[in-house]
């Protein structure tokens, strides 16, 4: 069946579109395309509807820049959340990871990336101006928690933001990094152990 199809036919078009998705190569795209072909029509229609809906209805929250159907988003509209705490994350999935812990009840700001010289990403490519706008007086924010990943790009972004935020006289903190819970010290790498010692706490 595949050998008779041409570049313009629907199967090839679907394979081409699927293979544009991250982590999907030609082989996987072909497998997925044939799965959709064999699936009941309702399943394919439901997938198509979901794809269209997500593009038509999901936008950025004008306050926190997270993806949302309603603006402002659920978290920005929740009066039970603490306005004084603002947690800055790189990507929407990072926000979900923090939310899953149920241990943070403040507000969020999503940057949509980190500073990356190897990808040519500078501060204007991120939601930095929107973050700074939220801190301008009379902002209720008293502490900004920088929760970017503890890798080179995440650290550089946190350092850069900390300087910009401190200019407003607002307390800046960084999420802790070090040994993972349940991990063995014996197998940890030198940089992680050094960091864990550096940010040790009193008991």
């Amino acid at each position: 069946m595949a050998s008779t199809s041409t570049a313009g036919d629907p199967i090839q078009r679907l394979i081409r579109e699927l293979s544009k998705l991250p982590g999907i190569g030609q082989k996987t795209a072909t497998r997925l395309a044939f799965f959709v072909l064999r699936a009941p029509a309702e399943q394919a229609q439901s997938l198509a509807r979901a794809l269209v809906e997500v593009k038509e209805r999901i936008r950025l929250c004008s306050l926190c820049m997270n993806l949302t159907e309603h603006d402002p988003c659920e978290m920005c509209s929740d009066p039970a959340r603490d306005d004084r705490l603002l947690c800055v994350v790189a990507h929407p999935p990072d926000l979900l990871s923090i939310e899953r812990t149920s241990s943070f009840r403040g507000r969020y700001h999503v940057l949509h990336g980190v500073l990356s010289p190897l990808q040519g990403i500078g501060p204007d490519d991120l939601r930095v101006r929107e973050l700074i706008a939220r801190l301008a007086p009379p902002s209720p924010v008293e502490e900004v928690i920088l929760a970017t990943s503890p890798n080179v790009e995440g650290e550089a972004t946190a350092l850069y933001l900390s300087k910009a935020v401190k200019a407003y006289g607002i307390r800046v903190s960084r999420i802790a990094s070090g040994l993972p819970i349940g991990g063995d010290l014996e197998y940890a790498d030198g940089i992680t152990i050094a960091r864990a010692l550096e940010v040790r706490r009193d008991m």
């Binding site: 982590g23 010289p117 190897l118 501060p123 490519d125 930095v128 700074i132 301008a136 850069y160 790498d189």
Partner: protein, 275 residues
């Protein structure tokens, strides 16, 4: 049964680039001592139970445990342990940009699977220099010029300074010698027809003796703080040097580097000061 992977071997390396792949994996491009520039799949690198620790980020220097996957360009990264960390690189954005620029140059100028011990030493020396600077100091632009020159030389793309780039004959010392960047260096009288231009532009022209000597000197200068401290180059000479090297690099790459774009964006970006 046919074995799908080769033996595991350990080699020192610097991580040049890290790209997320699939749900929890990463593809890393390494500059390794044993195999030069290679790409390897680091399975599970993004999960919190990952085996790679802090080494698996850009600029990480350590010992990689690699496994060749038969019939595939992509190796498998079994382990990466840190030998030398560069914790100060992200603390100041100009050195961060410089380090990324150096890694990106290696990424594009080093051919794959060709051992480049000189380039690896050079890259580690630059990262060491940048990491060791006091936080209040900006990196010396001459460090990057030395890196560029010595990298180009190591990968066989250096400028010919004393032999004619066209015929290989000697080009004797003179106040001005003809330089043609596209042909790869200086030219002798028989290969360069016409009067020697007095000006030096991105594609070449008349190369002054002082700049020729400086280029030769920087090609062998160690990339270390004490060596840089001894070096004095006028702003005009440095501008010419940078113009020539950028032109040469651009000619070999054929595209702009993202780290250069990043540095330009950082220089152009400013936030309104708090009222």
């Amino acid at each position: 049964m046919r074995k799908r992977s080769g033996p595991t071997e350990a080699t020192p390396c610097v991580v040049l680039r890290v790209v997320d792949y699939g749900d929890a994996d990463r593809i890393v491009t390494l500059l390794s001592a044993a195999h030069g520039k290679i790409s390897a799949l680091a399975k599970g690198a993004r999960s919190s139970r990952r085996r790679f620790g802090a080494a698996l980020g850009a600029f990480g220097f350590g010992e990689a445990l690699l496994e060749e996957r038969r019939g595939q360009d992509l190796w498998s990264l079994a382990d990466l342990s840190v030998t030398r960390g560069f914790p100060n690189l992200p603390l100041e954005l100009s050195r961060f940009g410089h380090a990324a620029y150096a890694c990106e140059l290696c990424l594009h100028l080093c051919p794959p699977h060709v051992p480049e011990p000189t380039v690896l030493r050079l890259l580690v020396a630059l990262l060491d220099y940048l990491d060791g600077l006091p936080l209040s100091d900006k990196p010396s632009p001459l460090a990057l010029r030395i890196f560029e020159l010595q990298l180009l030389l190591a990968v066989g793309l250096g400028l010919q300074l004393y032999d004619c780039a066209a015929c290989g004959g000697p080009v004797p010392a003179a106040d001005l010698v003809p330089l043609d960047v596209r042909r790869g260096g200086v030219l002798c009288e028989s290969c360069f027809l016409g009067p020697i231009p007095e000006q030096l532009g991105p594609q070449g022209g008349g190369l002054p003796a002082s700049l020729r000597d400086l280029l030769a000197q920087l090609e062998t200068r160690p990339l270390a703080p004490e060596s840089l401290a001894d070096l004095s180059v006028s702003p005009a000479a440095h501008n010419l040097l940078r113009m020539l090297l950028q032109s040469l690099i651009q000619q070999h790459l054929g595209h702009a580097l993202r780290a250069v774009e990043f540095i330009a964006k950082m220089n152009a970006f400013s936030l309104e000061p708090p009222g």
